[in-house]
């Protein structure tokens, strides 16, 4: 049975669980899960999706966005992603989440991150992401640790205050 999207309506506890490392990134089951995740992400018009959003608690995220911040022709698939460096410079983005339908909240994140991950061939990569992809990585990796954008929002009132003057430039994205 294909994997389907879960939301906080009925699945809040599942979304707050943390996910396990993938033992073998090349396993056929991983490939099948990734295909389902990409299909769900595209059907829901998100730019990223984490495995726990289809109720599978494995450390896998997919993106429909390239390193240049624009929609990628081939989705980016990251297994066991780890943020290794984050910028001290911060950005605030209006984030949306496929698992929290209809909500958009401003979340403060690092402007740039570097991320180490494995692909489905088991090859290790390191990517330096900025702009929307950097924010999307932080949003999706949070899902792997059982953290939602609303959990971040709830703790950031003082951080947000630093951004009030530039509120106009905040952009809105349905990240996933």
């Amino acid at each position: 049975m294909p994997h389907t999207l879960i939301t906080i309506n009925g699945h809040l506890e599942d979304l707050h669980r943390s996910s396990q490392r993938v033992a073998d990134p090349t396993a056929p089951a991983v490939r099948a899960l990734v295909d389902d995740m990409i299909a769900v992400m595209r059907a829901e018009r998100g730019i990223g999706l984490a495995a726990p959003q289809v109720n599978v608690h494995q450390r896998i995220v997919v993106f429909d966005i390239g390193p240049d911040g624009r929609t990628a022709r081939t989705p980016l698939v990251c297994i066991n992603p780890v943020i290794t460096t984050a910028s001290r410079a911060l950005v605030m983005t209006e984030e949306g989440c496929l698992s929290i339908p209809g909500e958009f909240v401003p979340v403060v994140r690092s402007e740039r991150v570097s991320v180490r991950y494995y692909d489905t061939q088991g090859q290790r990569h390191t990517i330096a992401a900025d702009d929307l992809l950097a924010v999307a990585f932080q949003h999706e990796i949070d899902h792997l640790d059982g953290i939602l954008m609303t959990d971040r929002y709830a703790q950031q009132s003082s951080l947000r205050a630093q951004f009030h003057e530039v509120d106009d430039t905040a952009t809105t994205h349905r990240i996933g």
Partner: protein
């Protein structure tokens, strides 16, 4: 053959069980850094000398002609190896009638290599143990004579586990040695599944990644106590190089506020907490580079700007 606290119990039980220990091989006295006067005491050497057993500490390789000739002249029936820190050449492995037998501090084939105790705690293993193994030319790949497991409890640190396993290894060694020497216990090949390896630690293994989970960073702390310890970088001001801040005592805090990883904050009861990927760590003691180890509250009072810091490797 062995060095340090891990080998000492094995030597002690062999002596107590009246095995004729004809010689002890250990590493040369190590000289640390520039202070040549500060030799690290070697409990194996001390115990051997107390029992009037000749101690050899060849500086070169065991396969060197002179060293090998000396070893051959001792005509050992068996060589017991524990934390010796040198690879044994084939010429030595073949020398004793019963081969070379190693006391290794993990359940092989998990954690082959130089730092099995640290590796098990770092990985969050809840069980480890000791293996008595007939050595072959590979790195901890020889067939297994006996194994005994031991639980790693959630707050156990390396020194405690180290002492327990050294003791377990010694007990298991004397327990199985008579059967092994009689040929009643045939070494069994290691499983080809579940193989993991570990390498010699470096100071950078203690570098904290705050995007790691609370449990994982706590495991890193338990594993690398007392050396290399764990540290983070504090970019105190943009112009200067970041300061190294060693965290000398920490506790996990699971249901913490969701701050960005690396963010420093305080609570009513804890003056110094740092956010991780999924929670936070309570810092009890710290040591800023060039300063003494101090209580978290004293540190926060002395360096109040820590309260607005974001720690870690950053651009």
């Amino acid at each position: 053959m062995g060095t340090g606290e891990f080998a000492a119990p094995s030597l002690a039980v062999l002596i107590a069980a009246n095995y004729s220990v004809v010689a002890v091989y250990t590493k040369p006295l190590s000289v640390h850094g520039r202070s040549r006067t500060k030799a690290v005491p070697n409990p194996v050497r001390a115990r051997a000398e107390r029992h009037a057993i000749p101690v050899h500490d060849p500086a070169g390789r065991l396969s060197d002609a002179d060293t090998l000739a000396t070893l051959r002249s001792l005509a050992p029936d068996i060589i017991i190896v524990a934390a010796y820190g040198n690879i044994l050449p084939q010429s030595v492995l073949d020398l004793p009638r019963h081969g070379c037998v190693n006391v290794h501090a993990s359940l092989l084939p998990r954690w082959r290599g130089a730092s099995p105790i640290h590796a098990a705690i770092r990985a969050g293993d809840t069980q480890t143990g000791v293996t008595i193994m007939r050595m072959d030319a590979g790195l901890d790949t020889g067939p297994i004579i006996a194994q005994k497991s031991r639980a790693i409890t959630p707050h156990m640190h390396t020194p405690e586990l180290f002492a327990l396993l050294a003791d377990d290894g010694a007990r298991l060694l004397v327990e199985v040695l008579p059967d092994y020497l009689r040929g009643a216990r045939v070494p069994q090949p290691q499983s080809t599944h579940g193989v993991t390896t570990c390498r010699t630690l470096t100071r950078d293994d203690g570098h904290i990644n705050w995007h790691d989970t609370t449990q994982s960073i706590y495991n890193q702390f338990r594993a690398y106590d007392p050396w290399p310890g764990i540290f983070t970088l504090w970019h105190r001001d943009a112009a200067n190089t970041p300061l190294r801040l060693k965290l000398t005592d920490i506790r996990p805090c699971m249901d913490a506020p969701r701050h960005m990883p690396g963010t420093v904050f305080s609570t009513d009861t804890h003056p110094l907490c740092v956010a991780t990927a999924d929670g936070a760590l309570v810092v009890k003691r710290v040591q800023l580079q060039g300063k003494n180890d101090m209580d978290a509250r004293a540190f926060v009072n002395g360096y109040p700007d820590i309260n607005t810091a974001r720690l870690g490797e950053m651009w």
